[in-house]
């Protein structure tokens, strides 16, 4: 399993998590499964909507894009693409910052935690670490290739 494969798998899991919470926000799911914390308090708070869309829907879009990029990165054309790796690092970095802001809101503004949000935070952090490692790997490959040419 390569790092990009792991990223694709994590993104797919995140995609379903985002879909689950989005379905809840749009009334398709009546009650959230929530064993720890106060998911509904978080998911129905004023902070659960960003720029007119549920935060969960933004998450769904984020994970979909991450999944698409990760799978694209497995194709022969892009398999060693440093540019693609850099794009994934930037996207995952944005995800980490956005998630950190949401966790701050949970801790200090809403005063409630949502286990799904914490799970997503873990996945985004993992994606970022993998993305950075992948980017470093492509950079090393590029350097090696340059040396080989020389």
């Amino acid at each position: 399993m390569t790092k990009r494969m792991w990223m694709a798998l994590i993104s797919l899991a995140g995609l379903f998590l985002g879909a689950y919470l989005t379905m809840y926000k749009f009334g398709v799911i009546g009650t959230l499964a929530c064993n720890v914390g106060s998911c509904e308090q978080v998911q129905t708070s004023r902070w659960s909507v960003f720029l007119g869309l549920p935060v969960a829907t933004w998450g769904l879009g984020f994970y979909s894009l991450m999944l698409a990029l990760s799978i694209a990165g497995l194709q022969p054309r892009f398999v060693d693409s440093r540019r693609l790796s850099l794009g994934v690092v930037l996207l995952a970095g944005w995800g980490v910052l956005f998630t950190a802001w949401l966790n701050y809101l949970e801790a200090f503004v809403i005063h409630a935690w949502c286990e799904w949000c914490l799970g997503s935070a873990g996945m985004v952090s993992l994606l970022f670490v993998l993305a950075v490692l992948d980017w470093r790997e492509t950079r090393e490959l590029e350097t090696e290739a340059a040396l080989d040419v020389a």
């Binding site: 798998l9 797919l12 379905m23 799911i29 129905t44 708070s45 398999v79 080989d148 020389a150």
Partner: protein, 273 residues
């Protein structure tokens, strides 16, 4: 300087110049895993949406308790064959979702045709900082015949006055109520003096006596249901309760609900929208 074409690739050893070998077998296994997870995820989401619509928290009503006859706020015809009770908390998100998502259909299809009447009884939960203020404000609006308008406005604007939004809920509740009630001075005084506190406490005691533990809790026939039902499940429960009692519901499709005040409040009832 050498000028040869170099093919690079992950997995090769440093210094070895050769094409990257992307194991096709490895990729196939990976896509298989992706497909399995995707199918599992879709199945889980389907199950979640189906399960959440099921009635899972229904228990029999304690038949030793006296019937609720005069408390709360009633919408619908006094001659409707079935009365549904909702124990609600204005700051409860699930109550808000029930109010905004299911109640419009309930009013249109069940209350307006005279099939049921709905009685709302406050059950302000301790976990919500501003819910008592909201219940009092709704009761103050009821003094002027505007309970249900206030009820709808409170649920639609939960994020303006709830514990997250403000530590001075009365100020916001007055702003909301002033758009609804005809006599704003009377309404504001009612809020400032907490004139309706005893009434809300009485409602709370009724809920406690009936072992209500959360909100919304719906009493439909002989079932006490501790969850917000979507309209379809709600109607199924109503149909089941009517079948058990043998009472005949009026033909649907009419708009014949009588907005008759029922006990305890001067108005408390509006014609269902």
């Amino acid at each position: 300087m050498a000028n040869k074409r170099v093919e690079t690739g992950r997995g090769r050893k440093p210094g070895v110049v050769k094409a990257s070998k992307k194991g096709s077998t490895s990729n196939r296994a990976f896509y298989l895993v992706i497909a399995v997870i995707a199918i599992g995820g879709i199945a889980a989401l389907t199950y979640a949406s189906t399960r959440s619509n099921a009635v899972v928290n229904a228990s029999p009503v304690d038949s030793t308790l006296p019937a609720v006859k005069s408390e709360g706020y009633v919408m619908g015809s006094p001659t409707a064959p079935l009365e549904v009770i909702e124990f609600g908390d204005f700051e409860c998100p699930q109550c808000g979702r029930f109010s905004t998502l299911a109640e419009p259909d309930i009013r249109k299809n069940l209350i307006n045709p005279g099939i049921i009447r709905l009685r709302y009884i406050d059950f302000p939960l301790g976990m919500h900082a501003n819910t008592w203020n909201a219940s009092r404000a709704a009761a103050c609006a009821d003094q002027q015949g505007k309970f249900w308008e206030m009820h709808d406005a409170l649920f639609a604007n939960q994020d303006r006055w709830d514990g997250e939004a403000t530590s001075n809920p009365d100020k916001v509740l007055k702003q909301i109520g002033d758009q609804i009630v005809p006599d704003q001075g009377k309404f504001n005084t009612c809020i400032d003096t907490k004139a309706m506190q005893a009434k809300i406490q009485a409602h709370w005691k009724i809920a406690m006596a009936r072992h209500v533990e959360g909100t919304p809790t719906l009493v439909i026939g002989d079932k006490q249901i501790a969850q917000a039902l979507p309209y379809d499940r709600f109607k199924e429960m109503v149909d089941s309760a009517l079948a058990k009692t043998g009472k005949v519901a009026p033909a649907a499709g009419g708009d014949t609900a009588q907005s008759t005040p029922v006990g305890g409040s001067k108005s408390g009832v509006k014609k269902a929208q």
